[in-house]
């Protein structure tokens, strides 16, 4: 989907009725839990160009994350950034199955999801740099990027914190009688949070259109899944919640895409949520200061040999859809996009005005020395 999706301007979420709090909508939402005729989903087969775009998007995420790591090392980037390198096929494959009706929520290792959702490299990098031009005006940073108007309901710094929110998005879609779904990305660590159980139970019981995508990258910070989970087969838990489960190779972008397409179709039919476990690996440590003493060089090398970008590139070259020369050209384009994003964020973008620090804490009210005071807002 890559470039095409990136250029796409998804329409703002259509709400039931008007936006203003004072004007109730004229038409009732009505209960629409009955099975629907299958609406048109994302295209099942990809054109050659679309396949190349998937590769490009994965390369952009890798390039972005390598740049982030570099900027952290040079202390140009402040704060924490959990980089997604190694897991690109999960976000890109999953998001390629979405349409403009669909939402997604993300987690603390979320740069890849935002970019795969069509995120703009410049706005992403600016947000990570805490600049006014960033997606969230520099208030969110690495762990809190959202683009709600384009259906990205945001990332969260609380492990497992997005599962109930995604479940609520699914509830809204269902109650509004719409055919969208919500993709919910989280890690193996989050699967041990209470929110996992509560959310999947609620979604399973109410047959909510939510696709829970657990990116099993083997470690919750330093603790391996074997040391954390009584039962390591995460997708096997799906049955406990009355939903379908699928385990996929998270290094294979098309395999992830297929599984998510199938899950989305099921959800659109009214047949409820799916739990997908995508087995993958994060190349870097949990964060920049992580010395990775909890895993071996051999293990890291094994996964480097199963690199999602290399695997897909070789597949496309094998199918004669790509040449080495074309790949090099692609890499050069990606590199120049990353360099432009760095320039935009680091050099060209201003920091937010300190006078705006209290903006948008509340809707319609602003904090003053004396407390909250009512203001006029657009809402």
């Amino acid at each position: 989907m890559g470039k095409t999706q990136r250029k796409r301007k998804a329409p703002a979420a259509k709400k039931v009725g008007g936006k203003g709090a004072e004007k109730p909508p004229a038409k009732a939402t009505g209960a629409k839990t009955a099975k629907k005729a299958a609406p048109k989903g994302a295209k099942k087969t990809l054109t050659n160009k679309e396949k190349i775009d998937l590769l490009r998007r994965m390369m952009e995420i890798r390039g972005f994350e390598d740049k982030v790591f570099e900027l952290l090392g040079r202390n140009i980037l402040q704060g924490a950034s959990h980089v997604y390198a190694g897991q690109e096929a999960v976000a890109v494959g999953a998001c390629s199955a979405m349409t403009e009706r669909d939402y997604a929520t993300s987690a603390h290792r979320g740069h890849g999801h935002c970019l795969a959702l069509g995120g703009d490299l410049n706005l992403m990098m600016a947000e990570l740099c805490g600049k006014a031009t960033g997606y969230c005006k520099g208030r969110g940073g690495s762990m809190h990027i959202a683009d709600v108007r384009n259906r990205n309901l945001g990332a969260t710094g609380i492990v497992g914190g997005n599962l109930p929110v995604a479940t609520g998005a699914g509830l809204a879609i269902q109650m509004q009688g719409k055919t969208g779904v919500c993709l919910c990305f989280f890690g193996d660590g989050a699967s041990n949070e209470g929110t996992f159980h509560e959310s999947l139970n609620m979604a399973g019981k109410w047959k909510l259109p939510v696709i829970y995508i657990c990116e099993n990258n083997k470690y919750g910070m330093s603790v391996s899944i074997e040391r954390a989970c009584a039962v390591t087969d995460i997708c096997g838990r799906a049955g406990c919640y009355g939903m379908m489960g699928a385990k996929v190779d998270g290094q294979k972008v098309l395999e992830v895409r297929e599984a998510v397409l199938e899950a989305i179709e099921r959800a659109r039919r009214g047949d409820g949520p799916t739990l997908i476990e995508a087995v993958t690996y994060r190349y870097r440590g949990h964060s920049r200061s992580d010395p990775r003493v909890y895993r071996t060089k051999q293990e890291e090398e094994y996964w480097q040999q199963r690199d999602p970008i290399t695997l897909f590139r070789d597949e496309l070259i094998g199918q004669k859809l790509l040449t080495n020369k074309a790949f090099e050209k692609l890499q050069a384009e990606v590199d120049s996009g990353i360099a432009a994003a760095e320039r935009f964020a680091v050099e060209e973008s201003p920091y937010p005005d300190p006078s705006e620090v209290l903006d948008d804490v509340y809707c319609g009210w602003v904090e003053t020395d004396k407390g909250l005071v009512r203001i006029e807002t657009k809402g």
Binding site: K14, K15, V16, G17, A21, E22, P24, P25, K27, A28, T29, G30, A31, T105, G134, Y135, R139, G140, H144, A146, D147, V148, L153, G154, T156, G157, I158, G161, N162, L163, P164, V165, A166, T167, G168, A169, L171, A172, I173, M175, Q176, G194, T195, E198, S199, N201, M202, K205, D359, D360, V361, Y362, C363, G364, W365, K370, G371, L372, R374, G379
Partner: protein
């Protein structure tokens, strides 16, 4: 004017808003068939059906979080958390997700949701079902905290909260559900952040909210019998707070007693003390008194429970202490 119970006022507010706006729906533990642990959702499922009045599993995180997600996607959820003590389980979803999403996401989203809950002591159900934890939520930027004392306020404020675009914690009081009060049949709304003057007087200011506002009013009557005219202010909302109502009264009386059922240490009224000394220090004739719950878990035994939380007598005594101080 018809007299209705507090719990009926809460129910009527939800019913009216659900009739008015199809985006409004109710969910929570035991809210549908049972009608709510304290009866505040009685009759809603009969009128609106199970799609819009949803019994949930006992899953406070999922309730609060699903309300957050649904609100961000165009709905107006009114979710019930049975006891404010159980808000501990919903804490992350409310104070980390709902409260912060608008700010963190650059002001590009709204989270129009109400979490209804109830608190307070008085039923001998001990420390997990009797607390007043409002201060915890006042400490979280991004949320409002509303605590009505009367049926009239409960209805008018809840309707306003449902139409507001901010995440709001609406804390009812378990001892007030059966209390009756006058509520007009015609529609009305009460703006957020406006305190109510329960009694006018020039000698001392008594400030309370929720059930403590009623006790303060009772204390005001008791003081009047002794020739002391107390001014009684019911805050109704802790956030947004009507600071001016407090300051104006203090400027008149010079003496202030703050009443809260929350634990004394780091109680929300400490914030009021800070505001008053900041903006009306020269108007004070005596140190500010506070009447709060003792700093121990609310005990079960009725004798101990009574001792642990404020009473009318304690408020009267505090008022007298401030009055005894000569400038």
């Amino acid at each position: 004017m018809p007299q209705i119970m507090y719990r009926e006022a809460v129910r009527d507010a939800m019913a009216e808003e659900m009739r008015r706006d199809p985006r409004v729906f109710v969910m929570g533990e035991d809210v549908a068939i049972y009608g709510g642990a304290y009866g505040a959702t009685q009759g809603l499922v009969e009128e609106f059906g199970e799609e819009r009045v949803r019994d949930t599993a006992i899953s406070e995180q999922a309730i609060a979080g699903a309300a957050t997600g649904a609100a961000m996607c165009g709905m107006r959820p009114v979710a019930e958390i049975m006891y404010v003590d159980f808000m501990t389980l919903a804490m992350d979803q409310f104070v980390n997700q709902a409260a912060k999403n608008r700010y963190m996401f650059g002001g590009k989203t709204t989270v129009p949701m109400v979490l209804r809950t109830e608190g307070g002591a008085g039923r001998s159900i001990a420390a997990h079902h009797s607390q007043s934890l409002e201060a915890w939520f006042c400490h979280a930027p991004g949320v409002f905290v509303v605590m009505p004392a009367t049926p009239y306020d409960a209805k008018g404020l809840l309707k306003t909260c449902i139409r507001d675009d901010n995440p709001i914690l609406f804390i009812e009081h378990k001892m007030l559900y059966k209390e009756k009060g006058e509520v007009p049949e015609e529609e009305y709304l009460i703006p957020l952040g406006e305190a109510a003057l329960r009694r006018a007087g020039g000698d001392v200011t008594l400030v309370g909210y929720s059930r403590m506002a009623l006790l303060a009013e009772e204390a005001g009557r008791a003081l009047a019998e002794e020739g002391v005219e107390a001014e009684v202010i019911d805050l109704r909302c802790l956030k947004p707070l009507d600071v001016d109502a407090i300051l104006n009264s203090v400027r008149k009386t010079g003496r202030l007693v703050l009443c809260s059922e929350g634990y004394q240490e780091a109680n929300f009224v400490c914030e009021i003390m800070a505001k008053v000394q900041e903006f009306a220090f020269d108007d004070l004739d005596a140190p500010i008194e506070r009447v709060c719950a003792l700093n121990c878990p609310v005990p079960m035994s009725p004798v101990l429970e009574k001792e642990a939380v404020p009473s009318t007598e304690k408020i009267v005594a505090a008022a007298k202490r401030t009055l005894a101080r000569q400038r």
